[in-house]
């Protein structure tokens, strides 16, 4: 598993076998560290009656760039824990600076496995969705998505310019970073609270999917702004058309393709057919989504939706669930590991201006999404606060925006720190607030319903 591209950088006296050994120790060790930390904190959080995903994010913080620096995603600043590299180096008989060369490869493999976990999670989310319910709430979901994009974007951008004299392009960029919703975190929280099949769950899910599509469009606009290129409308229209086509195709296949899938599955004789066949559909949809310019994760959700009417959906669920337990955990731990909490420290004067901007962004980010929960018409009783809070976590999508802005040198350090804090705040607060609101009980739900 040694990346051959790294080999020339290593002196010949370190044998291939020793490098292979160091590489294996790094990867296997990372799994042990991630699973141990995630499980430990998930158990603590469950006992506090909070969602386990919060424990997984915190586990990432603990072992990531803000903590032990054992797991350091490529985009994170900072230096890998030297004691860890030395331990691996001593065990494999490889100098620790050469272990450091292998480290990047081990992280890119973790990232790939985490992505499989995200796909599996969204696939299961699609599988558990009620297609008819999802279509029925389509209008509401679209309103929530659109409002949840426009409100934080407009208020954030305008506020940064008016209150903090930020220039136009960085302000637009920061505003754009507030439009995202982490569909992975949202799906995970609602699933854990057994809320996925409720009306609120399906509205949030539909809105998060549409938000992801809007996010791609916004990203395209912002990237072309950032590169200083003329903003051309053509590619954006093409992207929107592709997205519409994809959604229509996914809905059509959800109504028609399951019987075909079942017929194929019934003819399979070799063992393990269910999970492999499901994965072929899953990965094909991811490929199709990426090919038309959308996120592969949307394809994973569509694949689940397509198979949700299969007679074998229960068997598929049983087979894919362990993949989620293992690899989606890695996904959430890596999100936490990429967050550098040192920007939170008010004792450092360099952080203070960032903290003030951050407080503003956080308020706008929360208020904008929560408000979106009220901006749709509904004849049915709906807990609008739950919808708004469900749209709140920015998670990995916010971090992707931040990474792009940093790479393009668009942001000042203070603004960078402020966006990071906004992402951290919304990501950690969403599961907590959702849990509080939901255990606040039926009384609240009823009063909200009256307002709906």
């Amino acid at each position: 598993m040694v990346d051959p591209a790294l080999a020339p950088a290593l002196p010949p006296e370190v044998g291939a076998h020793a490098l292979e050994m160091a590489s294996t120790l790094l990867q296997v060790g990372a799994f042990v560290v991630i699973f141990l930390a995630a499980r430990l904190l998930a158990e603590v959080l469950v006992r506090l009656q909070l969602p386990t995903i919060l424990g997984e994010l915190l586990a990432g913080v603990l072992i990531g760039s803000s903590g032990l620096r054992l797991i350091l995603p490529p985009e994170a600043h900072g230096v890998v824990n030297q004691a860890w590299l030395q331990l691996i180096g001593r065990l494999a008989d490889v100098p620790s600076d050469q272990v450091a060369l292998l480290y990047a490869n081990s992280q890119s493999i973790l990232q790939a496995v985490a992505t499989i976990g995200l796909f599996a999670l969204l696939f299961l989310t699609g599988l558990e969705s009620e297609l008819d319910e999802l279509v029925a709430v389509g209008g509401q979901a679209a309103s929530v998505a659109l409002a949840g994009v426009l409100l934080p974007f407009a208020a954030g951008t305008a506020g940064l310019i008016a209150l903090f004299q930020v220039e136009l392009i960085p302000a637009v960029f920061a505003g754009a970073s507030m439009t995202a919703t982490s569909i992975g975190i949202t799906a995970s929280v609602f699933s854990e609270l057994s809320m996925l099949r409720t009306r609120e769950g399906q509205i949030v899910l539909g809105a998060a999917v549409l938000d992801d599509i809007l996010g791609i469009v916004i990203l395209a606009v912002v990237v072309s702004l950032a590169s200083g290129a003329e903003l051309s409308v053509g590619p954006i229209v093409r992207l929107l058309l592709a997205a519409a086509l994809f959604v229509i195709a996914a809905l059509a296949l959800s109504r028609t393709a399951a019987p075909l899938f079942d017929a194929v599955l019934d003819r399979l004789k070799a063992s393990g057919g269910v999970v492999v066949a499901a994965f072929v559909v899953l990965m094909s949809c991811c490929f199709a989504a990426t090919a038309v310019g959308l996120e592969a994760a949307l394809g994973a959700f569509a694949a689940g939706l397509i198979l949700s009417n299969s007679r074998h959906s229960e068997a598929i669920h049983t087979a894919v669930q362990p993949l989620v337990s293992l690899f989606a955990t890695i996904f959430f731990v890596l999100i936490g590991a990429g967050m550098d909490l040192s920007v939170l420290n008010p004792a450092d004067p360099a952080n203070r201006s960032g903290l003030v901007v951050a407080a503003f962004l956080l308020v706008v980010a929360i208020a904008g999404k929560v408000a979106s929960g009220w901006l749709f018409l509904s004849g049915e009783p709906t807990n609008r606060l739950v919808v708004g809070l469900g749209m709140m976590p920015r998670g990995e999508v916010g971090l992707i925006f931040l990474g792009l802005g940093t790479a393009a040198h668009l942001l000042t350090p203070a603004l960078e720190a402020a966006i990071l804090l906004m992402v951290i705040g919304t990501t950690f607060l969403a599961p907590v607030l959702l849990k509080l609101v939901l255990s606040g009980g039926e009384a609240l739900r009823d009063s909200q319903a009256g307002a709906g």
Copy 2:
């Protein structure tokens, strides 16, 4: 998932988003191609009443370096299918020569996922093993392993020198490459034929484990020979001691650790606990095995053995099985993909001398392992032919030896081709012959038993 090491090689006009897209398409596309090909051929093989693993190996040949060249492991010669790279490039709007730069990374990720599959397979194999039976046949397994290493090595090395005037070091290397047994292929075939828990299955499994340990020692000797270094006994003695310690520790933990594991599991409250806890044990054992200088895969087997007495072993089995169906499949497909069958073509004069040597090596490789089935004492009726054939497939271990020899420029092209043919022959013949012998029925079994 773009390897940051590659980024500087790419001109800035290709955006990070397009590269990300190409990278995702390569990876997701590879999964689709692998699963489709493997499933298709597995279904054909099942209908021919042959083991599905043979279908997975053939699928690898079909899409790998001998076929479509869609999947090309790093060690394989040849050029990736250009139409594939162009398709990805066109979809992602990235020049296809830059897609080629991303390709190596996608293959190293496939390799990593395949390794997780191998670990999961050997973990399940350990989980399904009868510890007491394994210990009971320990003596026989040791005889089989030792004979199966010594016979092919001695006959192969001596024959190459005497009959083909091969020099000492290449001859020793070729002889060493014949000592391996692919524990993955062996475990998979026996499991599919429901033979794992039989006496023959447990002898072969025990012998394959010991063979793997001996293989590490032989590898250490051959590598130090290849590097021209003085052969020192110290490291080899240390390796043997570490191996003995590891086996003793694994056996001791198999008898004692399961209740502790169960007690911990009973206290877990967050969902997904069983599979995550099992993976912590699995990866910890892989880490320990690698740290003492053994193959990580042996650790995976030991982890399964340790948990085989757990009250939750059935739940663990259910949760880990889909991982095997998915990722061990990738492992076997990659073995097939790494095999260059063009050396088989007798029309090419360059192949002819290799083919003659190959025929010799193949006969020695088969005869040596089959003979090892008779070289143990047994009071119980045992089908010795099944034991011998079970030790036959060289699979990925043979390919690893070959890769090392090629990298060290130890082998002539003819000898390289001959070793590859020996590996291909034993790997493909073993499942076929085992199936034939076993469906040859009880008559044969009884006559063997009489001789036992």
